[in-house]
């Protein structure tokens, strides 16, 4: 077991420092790049916070859909192949719900301000 503060706390502290202390000092193209950098750290913080729970639930759904076991990336590969072969499609019970849930979990990390995501969150 590693010591604390956790990676989440450490990353967040760097993002806050850049946002609060450095942003006012920078202008022009470098200010744009600084914003991108802060966005990256915020994304990493969200992923560190949410990934474990999201992946565990995704694996459970994938096992049920595919009737096989593996890591989250292995199971995604199998699902992609079966959809490509036409063995699974939107008529398959649970597939649409699974893709929706998985995609919503991704947007929550990648782009929580994306308008389509915010609309679907309200459903």
């Amino acid at each position: 077991m590693q010591d604390e503060p956790t990676p989440i706390e450490l990353t967040k502290s760097v993002a806050d420092f850049l946002r609060n202390d450095i942003t006012p000092l920078i202008s022009g193209h470098q200010a744009f790049k600084l914003r991108v950098a802060i966005n990256i750290l915020d994304l990493v913080t969200r992923q560190l916070t949410q990934e474990e729970g999201g992946d565990a639930a995704e694996v459970e759904r994938l096992r049920a859909l595919l009737g096989t076991d593996g890591s989250v990336s292995e199971l995604n590969r199998v699902l992609a192949e079966r959809i490509a072969k036409g063995e699974l499609d939107l008529a398959t019970p649970g597939l649409a719900e699974h893709l929706w849930q998985t995609t919503m979990d991704k947007l929550a990390v990648d782009q929580p301000n994306y308008a389509s995501y915010k609309r679907e969150l309200g459903r």
């Binding site: 991704k106 389509s116 459903r123």
Partner: protein, 328 residues
């Protein structure tokens, strides 16, 4: 300094010009640059734009038509009354500026979010969807016997090409697989009519003024194909910049777009438009994957490219909204 070469160049082809001033680079990758500058002239300064591949970067990427073709298309559009900058000069070896062209600078805004939110465009916004329909109709009617040599792509070929691009990323995405299946199942086949297709006609590639569309830019993906492709691409959610209930670039409705197109004497096929909107959404998603790959493989480790890689999920939710919509 580029101003020296530009000054020598304009004095050769612009009668009365004595030089240039205020040259500034607007955008530029390794292979293509855009510069703005003013031509110094006794009658007053002439605003100009240079699009060029610097010396040593002659080869165009495979999908691109090339700068020479781009210049020819813009000039043709200008002459036909499609909003376009006038091409003033195509670069020659003696210009010593690489390959490309110089065009008249059109004043206005290209940044999509400003066009969608600034007061300066409030009067123009409600007109744009219909106006865009008319512009596209004009563009699709450009005389084919005067077009430069362009690649020809129908729906089936495009599906094949995107599938190859996607598979080469080795990036299994169940939603993309679903979209590829849907596209194959709904492939409308070759269009009855093959026309010029702009290929990247969207909010962000248009110069907009208080009066509406002033110029269509970025012709580098022009090709021959199904004219409905342009109508589908302009509706892709990524180009609505948050205004998701206004499919045409965040400006207005499909009905307004179609009405503008048909008022200009051309026919719309809504099912083909929907097909190309799905295709376009997947296309942008795969391009995000390409950015991720270039981020990993190129030495500069651009943060912007890395973050565009993380925008693929935006296209996944938009594909689900198109193909598997949930109850409202």
């Amino acid at each position: 300094m580029i101003e020296a070469e530009l000054s020598r160049s304009v004095q050769r082809w612009c009668p009365g010009a004595t030089g240039v001033t205020g040259a500034a680079k607007l955008s530029g990758g390794a292979s293509q640059e855009t510069w703005r500058f003013d031509i110094v002239h006794p009658d007053g300064a002439i605003g100009a734009i240079l699009r060029r591949s610097p010396k040593g970067y002659g080869a165009a990427p495979t999908r691109a038509a090339g700068l020479a073709a781009e210049a020819q298309l813009m000039q043709l559009a200008y002459e036909a009354g499609v909003p376009s900058p006038r091409v003033m000069h195509v670069l020659a070896p003696e210009d010593d500026l690489g390959t490309g062209f110089i065009m008249q600078r059109v004043e206005g805004e290209t940044i999509a979010r400003k066009i969608l939110r600034d007061d300066a465009f409030a009067a123009a916004r409600p007109l744009l969807a219909r106006q865009i329909g008319g512009v596209l109709a004009g563009l699709h009617r450009l005389p084919q016997d005067r077009l430069p040599v362009l690649r020809s792509r129908n729906a089936t070929q495009e599906i094949g090409e995107f599938e190859r691009d996607y598979r080469s990323l080795n990036w299994p995405k169940p939603v993309f697989e679903l979209a590829l299946r849907w596209l194959r199942d709904h492939d409308p086949g070759p269009s009855a009519e093959e026309t010029l297709v702009h290929g990247d006609f969207r909010n962000g590639n248009l110069i907009i003024g208080a009066d509406g569309v002033r110029a269509v830019l970025d012709w580098e993906l022009a090709h021959l194909g199904d004219p409905m492709e342009d109508l589908g691409w302009v509706c892709v959610n990524s180009w609505r910049f948050g205004e998701i209930d206004k499919p045409v670039g965040g400006f207005g409705s499909r009905e307004e777009l179609f009405a503008g197109y048909e008022a200009a004497g051309r026919k719309v096929d809504p099912l083909r438009v929907k097909f190309w909107e799905v295709m376009g959404t997947l296309r942008w998603g795969i391009m995000c994957g390409g950015m991720m790959q270039r981020f990993r493989e190129s030495p500069d480790h651009s943060m912007e490219r890395a973050m565009i890689g993380r925008r693929a999920s935006e296209t996944e939710i938009d594909l689900l909204r198109l193909l598997a919509p949930r109850g409202s």
